[in-house]
């Protein structure tokens, strides 16, 4: 319960911080909206309509008051409610986050455990190399290569856009590659670390096989840091993977946020990042809940 209560001041602090931060960046939202060649009079009209001429504290309190009624305001750019714009894209980002995380976990955890149990063998080296490559490959390059091979040359998959299950494949793999490599590393390190604990020595001396020790006793403990990582990664994917979304023309939250910042769309920046933060906090809460299931020693306060 404490954790939920702490959220409120945290999020309020975040919104205040965003409010100030976006206004510190140089650039006039009304001018960006009106375009380079609009007259100063027309820009001024737009500035009025956006409420930018009101004193800063008035703008702040109006925004905060609206926030308490779940009114996130209206995009300066499109005149469309911020909430509506975010909700139009969130499902796309959520779907991609789920599919790539699921793939990464399904591949990464077993591979990590496998590498830990075959430590220092040739297979282990193979998996480690894959790990390093996966973490180091730039998303931009990987995405374009995959499009070139699978869409342009082989005509197997669509190059971009969104709509059918086939559209999911390339973006999911692009994100999952990095994530898998990361999970493999963490899982392997955690399993190796757990295998050296005292209770494992005891279990061995009792005559249990390595296999039983690993899968029945160690795994649950070893997975705790892995769950943390998966939770954090999934949470940040909810903010959208901007590069992947751009390359594959995936209409997601990441692009929405970046475009809003570039356009100095204050309500959209504040609102979309606020929602992202809310979701991120939610994901962390759920991750904590999962701990209590996996590790009976942990209880939520």
């Amino acid at each position: 319960m404490n954790r939920v209560l702490i959220l409120i001041p945290t999020l309020l602090g975040l919104v205040t911080f965003l409010f100030i931060l976006i206004r510190l960046i140089p650039g006039d939202p009304a001018r960006v909206l009106a375009g380079l060649m609009a007259s100063e009079e027309d820009v001024e009209l737009i500035r009025e309509q956006l409420g930018l001429n009101k004193p800063l504290y008035v703008q702040y309190f109006t925004y905060m008051a609206n926030l308490f009624t779940f009114n996130l305001g209206v995009s300066a750019r499109t005149d469309s409610p911020v909430l509506y714009e975010v909700m139009a894209r969130l499902p796309n980002t959520l779907a991609l986050a789920l599919s790539s995380t699921a793939l990464a976990v399904a591949l990464g955890v077993p591979l990590g455990v496998f590498a830990a149990s075959r430590k220092s063998s040739r297979l282990d080296t193979l998996v480690s190399t894959f790990s390093i490559v996966g973490i180091s490959l730039p998303t931009y390059w990987l995405g374009l290569i995959m499009i070139t091979i699978f869409a342009v040359e082989l005509h197997l998959l669509p190059a971009g856009g969104y709509g059918t299950p086939a559209h999911f494949i390339l973006p999911t793999v692009t994100i999952a590659l990095f994530l898998t490599a990361f999970i493999v590393k963490i899982t392997k390190a955690s399993v190796i670390d757990s295998m050296e604990k005292e209770y494992v020595v005891t279990a061995r001396s009792k005559g249990l096989t390595e296999r039983v020790i690993l899968y029945k006793h160690v795994l649950r403990n070893a997975l705790i840091p892995v769950i943390t990582i998966i939770g954090l990664q999934f949470g940040s994917l909810l903010g959208g993977a901007v590069i992947t979304e751009t390359i594959y023309a995936w209409p997601g939250l990441g692009r929405l946020i970046i475009d809003a910042i570039n356009n100095r769309d204050y309500p959209m920046v504040q609102g979309s990042i606020f929602i992202f933060a809310l979701l991120y906090a939610l994901v962390n809460l759920i991750t904590d809940l999962i701990y209590t299931i996996v590790d009976p020693r942990v209880r939520l306060g």
């Binding site: 009106a34 609009a38 007259s39 009079e41 669509p158 023309a249």
Partner: protein
């Protein structure tokens, strides 16, 4: 179905609220203007059929084409034109291009198919300026409501495409209007897909996921031209790339220094090596497709002459200065800035580059004043929406238009140019206007308030299944005569 790939999504579909050429182009397929232009840039009548201007230049009377229906079945007539233009002048409505109608006072219905525009002052380019504004059906507007204008164009116009849906961030879908007055188009549905990454657009064209794309990666233009099944159209545009020189004080207040930098930069080499040939060297401050353009001799690449001019002006050892360049806004903007820095370095001018992001760039550019500037030189591109020399020269060269807030950011003043521009915008006789602008351009050419660089080219690539596409020298295209195999 015709699938077109574009780079950015619309922020608004409102016919009054357009700020980008591409979305404006798309909206023009749904709602149409009174006048338009042809491939050579000549004005043509579109929904209007003729016009006369009063001898004092204050009244423009237009006769409208008859028997045209809006997509909602109501007739296109003078009342609809008045309704549209009254809305455009309404300060409650966001109209970023309202300054194009600065001359308009009132719109009058003379009879069912005759409308009169009463102007506040004589303004010859008015008849071209109205090609940017699209006529909407008053009855459909009443059905949709003002709040829907930004996102819903259903049955609103007279154009060949009917709005179907807009999935934000993803696509805009249109279907053919069977009773279009110009004859229905040959495709049933047109989808504009938003694909921000140029490489992905190209891949989707090559994989067959798209039929036509705008602005493929400029580095791949020659490769695409040689690819079987693909056609590439490289067309002139109106995007004039220049380096504004701050003339209020400092080294660029001396015309010899300004001429020197025009000799010091090898423009042909920049076009060839940096911009992949996608530019035409400037021979005027006005692009060739504008009414009033006239030719001047480009400043040839001559570093020796540049050095001599600098020495004459009192800078035998050159000087240091600051150049502002946006990034990611224009084709290879950063790289062009670096090339210019290098050329000027060779004649002794040490250039410090700074590259702010676009909104910061705009606020620094427009915040310039006669006493203060953060830059001595700035790379910038102008794409004026009215293809008339007045639209190009008045805002950028007239001394009443000095920054801050206006576009003569060079703080340039030439009384002869001022007087010519003032007269030419009121002059009703087109031939007199042409000679006034020719003289003005000659003066400006000698004064060098800019480093005159090049006019950017505009590229469209499409599958060879597509034919009958029309491309205008305004970064716009038309699908009315398009056919798909």
């Amino acid at each position: 179905m015709l699938r077109i790939g574009i780079g950015t999504d619309a922020d608004t579909l409102d016919t009054a609220g357009q700020t980008t050429t591409t979305i404006n182009n798309i909206v023009s397929f749904v709602c149409e203007p009174l006048t338009y232009y042809d491939e050579k840039g000549n004005m043509v009548y579109w929904l209007a059929e003729s016009h006369t201007t009063s001898s004092d230049g204050l009244h423009v009377t237009m006769k409208l084409k008859k028997n045209i229906k809006f997509q909602d079945g109501t007739p296109f007539n003078a009342a609809a034109v008045k309704f549209t233009y009254d809305r455009l002048l309404n300060p409650q409505v966001k109209v970023p291009n309202r300054n194009l109608l600065a001359a308009l006072n009132t719109t009058e219905v003379v009879d069912e198919y005759t409308v009169r525009f009463n102007l506040k002052f004589p303004y010859a380019p008015f008849i071209r300026a109205i090609s940017n504004f699209y006529i909407i059906s008053p009855s459909q507007y009443a059905v949709l409501g003002e709040d829907n204008m930004a996102r819903n164009l259903y049955n609103l116009g007279t154009g060949p495409l009917k709005f179907k849906e807009w999935v934000k961030g993803d696509r805009m879908v249109f279907v053919k209007f069977d009773e279009y007055w110009g004859g229905p188009i040959s495709v049933d549905e047109v989808v504009f897909k938003v694909i921000p990454e140029a490489q992905t657009r190209e891949a989707m064209l090559l994989s067959g996921d798209l039929d036509l794309i705008l602005s493929p990666p400029p580095t791949d233009v020659s490769k695409l031209s040689g690819t079987p099944g693909v056609k590439v159209i490289v067309s002139d545009s109106t995007r004039v790339m220049t380096v504004n020189l701050y003339t209020a004080k400092g080294p660029f207040s001396d015309v010899r220094v300004r001429q020197a930098v025009n000799y010091a930069v090898d423009k042909e080499a920049i076009i060839k090596n940096i911009v992949f040939g996608l530019g035409t060297i400037s021979d005027s401050s006005v692009p060739p497709s504008f009414f009033g353009y006239s030719h001047n001799e480009p400043y040839e690449y001559n570093p020796e002459k540049a050095k001599k001019l600098l020495a004459d002006a009192g800078y035998p050892d050159g000087f240091t200065c600051k150049m502002m360049v946006p990034t990611g806004r224009y084709l290879f903007d950063r790289q062009v800035g670096e090339a210019i820095q290098s050329y000027l370095g060779k004649v002794g001018i040490k250039v410090e580059l700074f590259t702010p992001d676009w909104p910061t760039f705009v606020s620094q550019l427009l915040g310039t004043s006669p006493t203060n500037s953060t830059w001595d030189m700035t790379f910038v591109g102008y794409a004026m929406t009215v293809p008339d020399a007045d639209a190009m020269l008045y805002p950028t060269m007239h001394s009443s238009q000095w920054a801050p807030g206006k576009f003569n950011t060079m703080i340039y003043k030439n009384e002869k140019v001022d007087s010519l521009l003032d007269q030419a915008r009121r002059e009703v006789d087109p031939n007199k206007r042409l000679s006034m602008y020719a003289e003005a351009q000659k003066e400006i050419w000698n004064d060098c308030p800019w480093i005159f660089l090049y006019v950017q080219k505009f590229i469209i690539a499409h599958s060879d299944k597509v034919s009958g596409l029309v491309v205008y020298p305004y970064e716009t295209f038309d699908i009315r005569t398009l056919k798909m195999a």
